[in-house]
Every structure is written in C-alpha cells, then in structure tokens.
Symmetry: C2
Subunit: 217 residues, 2 copies
C-alpha cells in the first residue's frame, strides 16, 4: 500500500491548538491503525506549493501515494475505503455513514461554525444577527437530540461520521452550547473518550509545541 502522509501547519498560535482540523485525520488514522507520517507546511507562508495541495490555504491535506486530497470530509471518506474500522462494509451501511458525514458538516457544522466563531471573536449577543445564528444552531441541536438519544453511533458501528460529528459538537460544548442537549453532550463525551481521540489530540498539541521550539531557535 502507498504511504500516507498528513500535512499540517508547522506551527499555529495558542488559541486554535487542539482544534486544528488535522485532528480529524489523525483520529481516523489512529482508529484504523494505519501507518502514516506527518509533514509540515509553513503557517507564515501559504505559497504556491501549499495552494497546489490545498487551494484555500488551509490544512490539512493527505497524500496517498501520488493522490493528494484536501477537505477533511473527503479525506475521511477516502480512509473509510481503506479500513473497515472507519466505515461499515455493506452498501447500506456505507450509504448511512456517508449521509451522516455530510450531515455532520452541512447540517450541523454549517450552523455551529458561525456560532462558535462569534463566541470566539466575542461578538455582541444583543443583535438580530446573533439571535439568528443562535436560533439556527438550537434548531439543529433540537433535531439531533432525538437521533443521538437512542443510538451509540450514527451508522450502526463507529465510523468516520462519528469523528466528524463529535469533533463539531465538542467545540460547541467548549462554549457551553450543549447545556440543553444532553444526548449530544453524552455522545461527544463518548466519542472523545476513545483512545484514538486522546492520541490524536496529544499528538497535535505536541506537534505545535515542537513548532514553538523551532520558531524560538
């Protein structure tokens, strides 16, 4: 099998550490026990070499031999084809996992990202714009709650859909946005209690700490 290489920034400032999207890919690779190496792209210079792999100047991207993939959703679907620890093997189960991959990103994160970014930026909360953002997220969480209540994982067994959904929900939880969504909160806690998440999170933190040292040198 071709070598897998995950590329992320060499360094990021403190606030986003633990939240950089390479975590989703590390988590999947750890769940599947697929061997991989981690490569760096400079945070301070997003030049042509970066944009050739990730046209929006973000991270991560994954190379699998001579195939290069960006977008964590696309990367995780790709890895799902390489390991039955990441996707059900039957067609119906794969379709189920795929629709929840999109739902995590496009039904839930589409609503949670404006909300978490507003919190992060400290935008005022006495505006019509904030009320719209807050109502949008609450509507999605209200619909997600009865989905997650009765099931352990989204598509039968643990899958890449759970990595994405849990990663989206844990950020909302950091800003105390799951107070009225006990099933969502329990699900995020259950997913992030997995050893593969802990390993991925610790590896990301260590990676950027090493970047501090290299910059300080």
């Amino acid at each position: 099998m071709a070598e897998l290489t995950l590329t992320t920034f060499n360094w990021v400032p403190e606030p986003p550490r633990g939240l950089v999207r390479d975590l989703r890919v590390r988590w999947a690779l750890e769940e599947a026990a697929l061997p991989y190496r981690v490569a760096n792209t400079p945070f301070d210079d997003r030049g042509p070499a970066h944009l050739a792999h990730q046209p929006f100047g973000q991270v991560p991207w994954l190379t699998d031999g001579d195939i290069s993939i960006f977008e964590t959703g696309a990367i995780l679907l790709h890895l799902g084809e390489r390991s039955d620890k990441l996707m059900p093997t039957d067609p119906r189960g794969r379709t189920e996992a795929t629709k929840w991959v999109f739902a995590a990103l496009n039904s839930v994160e589409m609503a949670s990202l404006p909300w978490t970014m507003s919190k992060f930026m400290g935008h005022p909360t006495d505006t019509a714009a904030w009320k719209f953002v807050d109502d949008f997220l609450k509507l999605r969480l209200r619909r997600l709650e009865p989905v997650l209540g009765p099931r352990q994982w989204l598509a039968g067994s643990f899958s890449v859909a759970d990595i994405l959904m849990a990663d989206v929900l844990r950020v909302v939880d950091k800003f105390d946005g799951l107070a009225d969504s006990p099933a969502c909160r329990a699900y995020a806690a259950r997913a992030t209690a997995r050893p593969a998440f802990a390993k991925a999170h610790a590896d990301q933190m260590a990676h950027f700490a090493a970047g501090d040292k290299a910059r300080g040198a």
Copy 2:
C-alpha cells in the same frame, strides 16, 4: 434498476423558490437522464414520517429502491455512482470530484451561507459580525478565483462537484457578491446555462406553483 424518487415540499413561500435544494438533485438527474419521480412532503407539518427520512426536517431526500438518502452532497455522490455523466470513471478523477464536492459545501458554502442569509434577512452591515462574515466569504472567493480561471470544470469533465459549486455561487451572485470575482461569475453562468439546470429550475418553479393551486383549492 430501482426506481428513484425525489421528495420535496408540496409548497414553499415565494422567496426561496428557485433556491430550494431539491434543485441540485433535479439538476443531477437531468444531466444523467436518469428516470425519476417527484413526491411531496407537507411544508406545514414536519412530522415523524418526514423526520424518518430527513432528521432535520428539511428537503430533499432521495429514495433509491429501499435506500433513503438525505443531504444533497450524499445524494449527488450516490448518483455519481450511477452515471458517468456525473462523475469521472477513473479513481483519480473520482477522488478529484469528491474533494471538490466537499470544497463547494465546506470551504465555499460554509462562508457563503452566513453571508447570503444576512443579506436575505437584511441584517445591518455596520457591525463587527458582518465584517467578519463578509471578509470570510471574500477570502474564499479570492482563493477560488485562480482555481476557476483556467479551467472549465472542477474535476476535468462536468461532475456533481460543478452542480454544487455553481449552485452555491449563483446565490452569491444574486446578491451581487461576485463583482470582484469574474472567473467565479463566468463559471456560475457557464454551469447554469446548461439545459439540465434550466429544466431543473423550471420544474421546481412549476412544482411550487402547483402547490399554490392545491392550497388555494
């Protein structure tokens, strides 16, 4: 082959007509010349029968025999497996199309939706929150512009990635958000000039006009 059924609302108010997401699925089905029928779910009552197919109470969903799929990204990837008019047939081309499917939704629409919703709602534009939303979209369009400049379609040949990206961009264009992005604007115009888009758009408008009559009756 199993019968394809696209379910959408029986009726929606005037403003979102032409923008309801079933258009993306109609467009793909028309491009592929796959036979399908259209079914209704009541706009005014999003009960258990609706939520069993689409847990967030939205439309559309697609049934392919006894498989039911929601999220337009997941539906379009599914249809891409049924027609080489919707996805390249080689593995590299399929990976390319898949990553642009996610990029359309998660890099571009993630930034454009807060922007178009703010425009739609008429939120004030003299706020830090609006500046953040506006800057976020401009950053994405600035990166997309050199991608779209030299190419006709995102993944070599026309694919489901183009349906999603063009559908996202045409809404930004409606609110005059592509004034500084000539390649994005030309791409959206090129995609929406395809007969399959025109058919899909006309069919959606006729569908909701029929809904008016049924409600009036």
